[in-house]
Every structure is written in C-alpha cells, then in structure tokens.
C-alpha cells in the first residue's frame, strides 16, 4: 500500500472529470433520440446514453459528498462553465453521421473498458463500486460499437469509405487518454486513480484487432490533440452546454 494520499480537492476534481466524460458523451448520444438510422439502433444509442447519465450521477453524487459544500449533482452538471469541464476532447466532437458516432464511441469504449477494469481495483471503495457497476454496461457498449465498426468497415463501398474517414478524422483525439495530468499522476500514485500510461499498449492492440477485422486502415500518425482534461475545449463544448444547461440557466433552481 502506497503511503501517498490525495487531498479532498483532488478526489473531488477526479470524480468530476470522470463524471464529465460520461455526461458529455451521454448528451451527444442523446441527440440521436428520434433520429437513429433505424428504430432498433435509435433505442440502442439512447440506452447507451442513459447508461452514461447513470454513471454521471454516481460520480457527481460522490463528488458533491466529497466536496461537502452542500452542492447537488444537478448543480455540478448544470452550473459550471465550459472551461470547468474536464472531459476528453473526443467526446464533445459532433455526431456528424452514424459512422462518426460509432467511431467516437468505439475509440472511447475501448479505453473506458480498460480504465474501469483498473478503477474497480481502486483503494477508494466508492469509486471501485461505481467502476464495477459501470464496467458491465461498458463491456456491452464496446461490443455494440466494435460490432458496428466491423459491419460498416467490411460492409459496402460507401459504408467502408465513411467509417474509414471517421477513423482518420477522430484518431487525433485519442492520445489524450494516455497523457496523465498532474492530478491523474497524484491519483494514480495513491492507488485511488488509474495509471493511464499503462493502458496505451492494450488499447492499441484492441483497436488494431477490430480495425483489421473490419478491413480498415490503421491511421498512421501520432494523436496530437489534447487539453480537454485541463479545461481547454473545442468550440463544440459551448454549444453542447448552451443546450444542456438552458433550462437551469433560464429558470434558476427549477425542478421537476
């Protein structure tokens, strides 16, 4: 057992970061509601969106408890500014089309699964429990997204072209997963958080396996985009928040 321990503020920020990832991707997937390519896929995407919102609630409830200032999960979700969000840049990228949505999902699911496997061994029992519960959902997410990558890649000429384009365009956002911030280093050192640098090799293997089965080309460059974890976001996040937070900003303190 490592002697190093984290401050309350570090644990709070770490929970927020984990919750932000689920929240922003969940919100993006929710945009598909009623617009899915077929009814069954529409329901599948919104199911996954709801899984993410459930995960977000767990992280934010715990974050609020750790912070101890009487904030609620809703206040953490709806009353922060864009620069206070810590989600990966990949997750705020627009849905574009079904191919982009699937590749964004696939790139994240492959990472998320490895991450939660480690987080479920956290020395923090609450985070370990949230991770163990979420892992079951995320294994299904990965199954869903990787299955579609294979189908579209090894499908028609049009589906192959579209999904290859999405692979090439979104790959640059995946490097951020494995570049630890100071916070992540401190959290990993105490055994509460996950050492993300160790996940890179198994991640690349998982991605390569699926892309090769899908007859897709490996994007031959080092992913270079990062900043989401430090609050430096693309313009997309502002648009997401203006929609997501509209109700609470317009009618402060309203509830159902």
């Amino acid at each position: 057992m490592n002697e190093k321990s984290n401050t309350k503020n570090e644990l709070f920020s770490y929970c927020l970061q984990l919750g932000d990832n689920s929240l922003i991707l969940g919100q993006r997937l929710g945009e598909w509601c009623g617009h899915g390519p077929v009814l069954e896929v529409d329901i599948a995407l919104t199911n996954i969106a709801l899984d993410f919102l459930g995960q977000t609630r767990s992280y934010f409830q715990y974050a609020a408890e750790v912070e101890g200032l009487g904030h609620t999960e809703d206040q953490l979700a709806f009353l922060r500014e864009a620069h206070e969000y810590r989600n990966y840049l990949l997750l705020e990228q627009p849905n574009e089309d079904f191919a982009y949505t699937i590749i964004r999902q696939f790139f994240f699911d492959a990472f998320h699964r490895l991450f939660l496997e480690k987080l479920s061994e956290s020395t923090d029992s609450q985070l370990a429990a949230i991770a163990a519960k979420s892992l079951k959902e995320v294994k299904y997410h990965f199954r869903f997204s990787s299955d579609w990558v294979r189908r579209l890649g090894d499908g028609t000429a049009v589906s192959h072209k579209k999904i290859q384009q999405a692979v090439d365009d979104l790959w640059m956002f995946t490097g951020e997963f494995f570049q630890p911030t100071e916070l992540e280093e401190n959290m990993a050192a105490s055994g509460v958080g996950v050492d993300v640098t160790a996940l890179k090799t198994p991640y690349l293997t998982a991605i390569k396996d699926v892309l090769s089965e899908a007859t897709l080309k490996w994007p031959d460059f080092e992913p270079n985009q990062h900043g989401g974890k430090e609050g430096r976001h693309s313009e997309y996040l502002g648009h997401i928040l203006s929609e997501m937070q509209w109700m609470q900003r317009t009618y402060p303190n309203m509830s159902w």
């Binding site: 077929v38 009814l39 069954e40 329901i43 599948a44 199911n47 299904y140 199954r143 299955d147 189908r151």
Partner: protein, 96 residues
C-alpha cells in the same frame, strides 16, 4: 418479410426468469441473428424483463390459418370433460 433496407423481420422470445417458459414479446428488424440478439436486448430487456433471449427469423414460423379456426379449435369448445374440474380439491393445496 423484409423492410425497405432489406433487413428481415425477427420474432423475439424472452424468458423472464429461470423456470418459466420463453414467451413471445414482439418482433424487430435486423440483418442477422447476432444483431437481432443485440437489438432484442436493447428493445425488449432494458427494464429487466429477461434472463434469456431467443430470436427466430419470422419466415421460419408456420402459423395456423384463421380460415381453419372452425375445424381447428371449435370442436374443443363443447368438451368440458377435458378440463380437470370434476373433482374436489383437498383443502390446503395451494397454487393450483
């Protein structure tokens, strides 16, 4: 049998808990059995309705013809002696 995208129709059967039979719950479209299974999971079990799923392509089901209902089903209607209702149940026997 197939929709405009060429996806065939599948009939979905769910077992709600161990010990019970699979029951027909509805149908959906999917390109193959594997995806029919995943779609069934998302469409029909998201409120914890099941512990097991069967999917069967609809074209493999042979259905009785409503025109034959007379000869198929009506002869059974006046044969009440086929129901086990002509003896008394002993007291204390439950769940029958």
């Amino acid at each position: 049998m197939s929709d405009k995208q060429g996806w065939p129709l599948w009939e979905i059967f769910i077992r709600s808990k161990n010990g019970l039979n699979h029951r027909h719950v509805g149908s959906l479209h999917a390109p193959d059995a594997e995806m029919a299974m995943e779609n069934a999971r998302d469409v029909y079990t998201r409120r914890s309705e099941g512990v097991s799923i069967w999917v069967v392509e609809s074209r493999h089901i042979t259905a009785s013809n409503p025109e034959n209902n007379g000869e198929f089903f009506e002869p059974a209607q006046d044969k009440v002696y086929r129901h086990p209702t002509f003896y008394e149940m002993p007291e204390g026997i439950k769940h029958i």
